[in-house]
């Protein structure tokens, strides 16, 4: 399974978590791709933290608007019925309980629902951007990430070793191998990708992974 296939599986599965009427913020990377797989017949409003709701698809080449980018700096469009706002109001939306779902990538996530995705001390310090606000503010925090680093090193840990972006805020982890609930009892394997053995998935997960009594295959 190559990187592109993994990303597609993850984005597609995350999209199924969205419900009609949800206001959703999609982070950079895999999360952005979720927009391509939103099930037909449900109405999702995408929020772009640089200041609007109603984020649409990429513009046709040559149709880019210099005043209209997403939070990753890419040219985008706004759907009919969308609305622009200033950055303060944009984060009123995020922090004030008005955002149903945020989907974020990560460097590490752990069994307490902690997430670390903004810096590797001494190496890589991009900053948190709006991620910390999104993690605290969204009603549901979905981590969309490859299961491991380069197919080897677990990203889903007993305890994050990198500086945290948020503490105990993650609700769901979706990878190319598994759909994992973060619960009071720890991590629960809710669905697995039948291309992988359950034992292998556990091996590639540093955190303790309890198997749900209602375990199903990822669709």
């Amino acid at each position: 399974m190559n990187k592109e296939e993994k990303r597609k599986i993850i984005a597609k599965r995350v999209a199924q978590e969205l419900e009609d009427g949800d206001v959703v913020n999609l982070g950079i990377g895999i999360p952005t791709k979720v927009a391509d797989y939103i099930p037909a017949g449900i109405d999702i409003t995408l929020h772009s933290e640089n200041g609007f709701v109603g984020l649409g698809t990429a513009p046709e080449p040559g149709e880019e608007d210099e005043n209209l980018i997403n939070a990753g700096g890419e040219p985008v469009t706004i759907n009919p019925g969308g609305a622009f706002m200033n950055s303060a109001d944009s984060f009123v939306l995020v922090r004030g309980g008005h955002l149903d779902v945020t989907v974020l990538g990560t460097l590490q996530v752990d069994e307490q629902g902690n997430i670390a995705n903004w810096m590797i001390p001494g190496k890589f310090v991009p900053g948190m951007g709006g991620a910390m606000d999104l993690i605290v503010g969204a009603k549901k925090v979905i981590v969309a990430t490859e299961h491991t680093i380069k197919g080897e090193k677990p990203k889903i840990l007993k305890e994050c070793t990198l500086p945290l972006s948020g503490k105990g805020e993650v609700d769901l982890i979706v990878t190319e191998m598994a759909v994992i609930d973060v619960s009071d009892r720890g991590l629960i394997l809710r669905e697995y990708n039948p291309e992988f053995e359950i034992e292998y998935i556990k091996e590639m997960t540093e955190a303790d992974l309890k198997v749900s009594t209602e375990l199903a295959e990822m669709v």
């Binding site: 009427g21 206001v23 409003t45 609305a83 622009f84 922090r95 004030g96």
Partner: protein, 220 residues
């Protein structure tokens, strides 16, 4: 997916005992059809958060005059003698809050803030019972968020997604209250199609709005 409903559907959400924010400033920007509906439904024991209690025959004042209100959290009651009378006889609880602090407390709830620090009210009765923080030699009151179960708002135009545009001084508390209540119900003068409002000129994005009633529509 249209948010447009009848007045009956709006009224079905309003119950006695609720905490209700009502937009408007001396009845300008107040949803009068909703007030009339509440008078007819005879909901009682309301806790109202608003700028003031208007006049006895207008806006929020009508609910006070009809004795449907247990408590008001407002900046002013001087224009409604009925409020003062009920307050003096102990029938109505009145929490007076400086106007700027009032709207900022509502905004804090809508913005997910735990509170704000302001020097307004320092050295006055407003400070009584409140935590005072000193920052760089300056004293500030810690003022806490104000939220509600229902916000009853008035806008000029809406589209079917609930995007709102307010008119002139009727804007006032409405856009802020739209962020601070669990349910946001709006009376509008005019309904337009989705896409008719320039996204640069939306005052309240539709995702903050639950239901829209078009004033004067038959009550189906």
């Amino acid at each position: 997916m249209s948010k447009v409903v009848s007045l009956t559907e709006i009224m079905a959400e309003i119950e006695s005992g609720q905490t209700v924010m009502i937009g408007g400033f001396l009845a300008v920007g107040t949803p009068e059809s909703f007030i009339t509906g509440m008078l007819e439904k005879e909901v009682t024991n309301l806790k109202i958060i608003a700028n003031e209690t208007s006049y006895p025959d207008q806006g929020i004042g009508r609910l006070v005059a009809a004795r449907q209100v247990d408590k008001v959290t407002v900046s002013h009651i001087g224009t409604n003698p009925e409020t003062g009378k009920q307050f003096n006889s102990g029938k109505l609880e009145v929490e007076l809050v400086p106007q700027g602090t009032l709207v900022e407390r509502i905004r804090a709830a809508g913005a997910g803030l735990g509170g704000i620090l302001t020097s307004v009210g320092i050295g006055t009765r407003v400070a009584e019972g409140k935590e005072v923080l000193e920052i760089e030699g300056e004293k500030y009151l810690l003022e806490l968020p104000l939220e509600a179960e229902i916000a009853l708002l008035k806008a000029w135009k809406a589209d079917k997604k609930g995007n709102l545009v307010y008119r002139k001084a009727a804007r006032n508390f409405n856009p802020i209250m739209a962020t601070a209540a669990s349910r946001v119900l709006v009376e509008v003068d005019e309904l337009v199609e989705v896409g008719d409002i320039d996204p640069d000129q939306v005052h309240t994005p539709g995702n903050f709005v639950d239901k829209v009633y078009v004033r004067g529509e038959s009550n189906e």
